[in-house]
């Protein structure tokens, strides 16, 4: 056994984050660590690396009882962590990043030559031939990750912890990463792989540890754990898989087109997108990461300028220079990253909810407080936002409730088009289906919804029609009758070249 963590408990301000959790990893083993948000995965990892101190429990690493008081200590002992984003110093060179904090020295000064050669050598093991003098920021996510791994390798890491390593990689890059992980395994390195994409876990991991509510609820060989069983452990209840939401059977084509992109392009990420959103439908937008989904939404909403092609709203041509212009036409956008692009954390629920409506809530510049209160309490009730009072800062709400407030932010402006980018990301399954139901009923009332999602189940359950993007181009439009996991995957992988016209 390389690592054995037993009976680990930890609480924050009296709230238990971990209760007698455990994690065991054998030599050269690839262990999947899964669980919902809040299950305690990251707390457990942070205790292992020394970023947090445990309240109770024992950690044995390489046969010795250990207790790291800082990430630096655990690194020295041979435990390396590769986080999703914050990993490297972007303006420093590749070579420096690989050796930072353990630079080769001559006479006390940097030995740049040794650093450069060492970096190139270790990258070659992973078939990466790049200029190690260039700043890391110049390279794409996959290459940066390789640099992180190379860094871990030069540290003689015995255990590599990877936190959602595939979240910003495309399929091809994931394959390269997996090859790298297998190379590591052959060289005697064990890996903890924290991830959410089940197929990836089954493809690469030997065993799986499942956590829920601060407990370790199951450990098993990967192949002995059926998918449904794994999900059931994570959720702690029978998976009420999204049942397809009932849709009225009206003919799609009879509905007027609200918004239409033709041959739209902007920058490098959006090259040629055709897309239409009809009245009263949920129009899905699918594609792998980096296919240009979010960027397409940003064009429609005026965050980025449309540089090529055309955008029509209710039949007349538009090119929004600012979100404010799109909003004036009745378009709303609930963005992908709530924390970065959505909430104003310190402001109250009331203010967050009415931010977009404010210009219409004023009398001589003054906010009409009575109307504001009326609207806010109406939406808190109708969307079921769980909060102490409208005055509560939004940052105190859970992800699902924050998302409801952000939806209400647009719904209270009575929009005609609502763009939702990954509307259920980072919220638990119960709130997920609530939000999907809500979108469905809004569409039934006439709202046009553009739903961007990476989760096929979600698109299959809720969308009337799905446009598939690949590499900045719309490659297929799947009407309801043709919506199936198989067709979506095929279109996303862009394997239906000739058929795309037919499908569209």
């Amino acid at each position: 056994m390389l690592l054995s963590m037993q009976g680990i408990s930890k609480s924050f301000a009296g709230i238990a984050a971990l209760q007698s959790a455990s994690l065991e990893i054998g030599e050269s083993e690839i262990m999947a660590l899964v669980g919902q948000n809040g299950a305690g995965k990251s707390t457990l990892i942070k205790i292992l690396t020394g970023a947090y101190q445990r309240d109770e429990g024992t950690i044995r690493f390489q046969g010795k009882d250990v207790s790291f008081s800082s990430p630096a200590e655990s690194q020295a002992a041979g435990i390396a962590t590769i986080y999703q984003e914050i990993n490297l110093a972007p303006q420093r060179s590749v070579a420096e990043n690989i050796y930072l904090s353990r630079e080769p020295r001559r006479f006390g000064l940097l030995d740049r030559k040794a650093m450069r050669e060492g970096a190139a050598k270790v990258l070659k093991v992973f078939n990466l031939d790049i200029d190690v003098d260039l700043p890391v920021a110049r390279f794409n996510a996959a290459t940066r990750q390789m640099v992180s791994i190379a860094r871990a390798v030069t540290q003689n890491a015995r255990l590599l912890i990877m936190d959602e390593p595939t979240s910003s990689l495309d399929e091809r890059e994931v394959e390269i990463l997996f090859r790298t992980i297998r190379t590591l395994k052959q060289n005697g390195v064990a890996v903890v792989f924290i991830g959410h994409r089940l197929d990836e876990l089954y493809a690469i991991c030997d065993r799986v540890t499942i956590m829920r509510d601060g407990h370790t609820v199951a450990v098993s060989a990967m192949n002995d754990m059926p998918k449904m069983e794994l999900v059931r452990h994570m959720l702690g209840r029978e998976l009420a898989a999204f049942q397809a939401l009932a849709r009225d059977a009206g003919s799609d084509d009879a509905r007027p087109v609200r918004l239409e992109l033709k041959n739209a392009g902007s920058g490098l990420r959006v090259r040629d997108v055709d897309l239409s959103i009809r009245q009263g439908e949920i129009s899905g937008l699918a594609g792998l990461l980096g296919s240009g989904r979010t960027e397409t939404a940003r064009i429609i909403f005026g965050v980025d300028r449309l540089e090529r092609g055309s955008l029509h709203f209710n039949g007349s041509e538009r090119n929004y220079a600012e979100p404010a212009a799109a909003i004036a036409d009745g378009i709303g956008l609930v963005s992908e990253d709530r924390k970065v692009d959505g909430i104003i954390p310190d402001m109250s629920i009331r203010e967050n909810m009415t931010l977009a409506l404010l210009p219409k809530l004023k009398k001589a510049g003054i906010v009409d407080r009575a109307r504001q209160d009326e609207i806010v309490s109406r939406f808190i009730r109708s969307l079921g936002v769980k909060c102490a009072s409208p005055d509560q800062p939004i940052k105190e709400l859970s992800g699902g409730n924050q998302q409801k407030v952000l939806l209400a932010r647009w719904l209270c402006t009575d929009p005609s088009v609502l763009i939702v980018d990954e509307p259920t990301r980072g919220i638990d399954i119960g709130a997920k289906s609530e939000i999907l139901k809500l979108l469905r009923s809004l569409a039934d009332e006439g709202l046009s919804v553009l739903m961007i999602s990476s989760e096929l189940e979600e698109l299959l359950a809720a969308a009337d029609r799905v446009t598939v993007l690949s590499d900045g181009m719309s490659v297929a439009v799947l009407p309801r009758q043709q919506l199936s996991e198989q067709n979506l995957l095929a279109a996303m992988a862009h394997q239906i070249d000739g058929a795309s016209g037919e499908l569209a």
């Binding site: 990430p71 630096a72 690194q75 020295a76 962590t81 986080y83 914050i86 990993n87 490297l88 110093a89 972007p90 303006q91 420093r92 420096e96 990043n97 930072l100 904090s101 353990r102 630079e103 020295r105 006390g108 000064l109 940097l110 260039l134 700043p135 860094r151």
Partner: protein, 326 residues
């Protein structure tokens, strides 16, 4: 020294700005040399170097601080405090004055570092408070007036004498810059300074000793400001508690003109020196222009022109960086 020049080779927009400052400096020198008879006279060059060494020292410390993504607003007041302390100690011996001034600067710098790393207070606020405190302490020690130094112990040599034909303050500044360059470009800790400016959290995760490095950087900034204060006292024969007002902003301007981004993570020691010299030379050229008698610009124009200079540089920088990210 070829690597010294190589550090100017363009790799990014920041490097372009660094080349820009060198070109501007060269152009201004050329302009002065062609236009004014005595511009390149030994007297002018030496007095220019003697006076501007103080600002160069402060700018060096500021550059290191800014590279970590921080800022040090206390340097002006620290220089004033150090000038008073060294003037008060100068009757004992010249090195008591020197050590006292440097020590005072180092103390304030360490205090800054401790407040920033231990209390987690933003550098802007922490050093602002230190500025007030240093200013108050200087006034208290000096009893609200300037303190003349002792001329008997040789203390004034530090500011007024030459060595091998060059002013001693210029030697001090040159030594500081060479050490600074070696530190930043050639020592692991120097690279850590830049890595921390790239992102403190990341740097900590990579096992760098962030707090210790920050503490060191603020201590160095304080120390260099203290050294500048010693030179101030030695050069003008008095410790001046009210001097140094606005020096910190002048130093920030030098650093910015030298192409170092205030967001941290990048920067060059050489270009900072060029930036400080460039801003100092604006004043020098102005004096000569007045001497020609064509126009008569009051000394007050210098801050207007410096402000304009800063404006041009930051606008150009903003342009360059927005283009490179687009």
């Amino acid at each position: 020294m070829s690597a010294f020049f190589k550090s100017f080779a363009p790799k990014s927009s920041g490097d372009l700005a660094r080349i820009g400052v060198l070109i501007a400096l060269a152009a201004l020198i050329l302009f002065g040399a062609l236009r004014y008879d005595n511009f390149l006279s030994p007297f002018n060059i030496l007095s220019f170097l003697r006076y501007n060494s103080m600002f160069a020292l402060i700018a060096l410390g500021m550059a290191l601080v800014i590279m970590t993504g921080g800022i040090d607003l206390s340097v002006g007041a620290v220089a004033a405090l150090a000038s008073v302390v060294s003037a008060l100690l100068s009757p004992i011996s010249w090195y008591a004055g020197l050590a006292g001034g440097i020590g005072a600067g180092l103390m304030v710098g360490l205090l800054n570092g401790l407040v920033i790393t231990r209390l987690r207070i933003q550098p802007f606020i922490a050093t602002l408070a230190a500025m007030l405190a240093a200013n108050g302490t200087a006034l208290l020690l000096a009893n609200n007036q300037s303190v003349s130094v002792s001329y008997d112990t040789g203390f004034t040599v530090i500011g007024q004498d030459d060595f091998l034909g060059f002013p001693i303050p210029a030697w001090i500044a040159l030594a500081a810059y060479i050490l600074g360059w070696l530190f930043l470009e050639r020592s692991p800790s120097g690279r850590h300074v830049l890595a921390i400016g790239d992102g403190e959290q990341t740097a900590a995760l990579m096992g760098l000793k962030v707090e210790r490095t920050l503490l060191g950087v603020y201590a160095v900034s304080g120390l260099l400001a203290g050294l500048a204060g010693v030179i101030l006292a030695a050069q003008f024969g008095a410790g001046q508690p009210t001097e140094g007002v606005g020096w910190e902003l002048f130093a920030i301007a030098s650093v910015v003109v030298g192409g170092t981004l205030l967001t941290g993570g990048s920067g060059s020691v050489g270009a900072t020196l060029a930036g400080a010299l460039l801003l100092g030379m604006v004043f020098n050229v102005l004096n000569f222009e007045n001497g020609l008698g064509w126009i008569s610009l009051s000394a007050y124009w210098q801050s207007v022109i410096r402000g304009l200079f800063l404006l041009v540089v930051v606008v150009l920088q903003a342009r360059l960086t927005s283009k490179s990210t687009a």
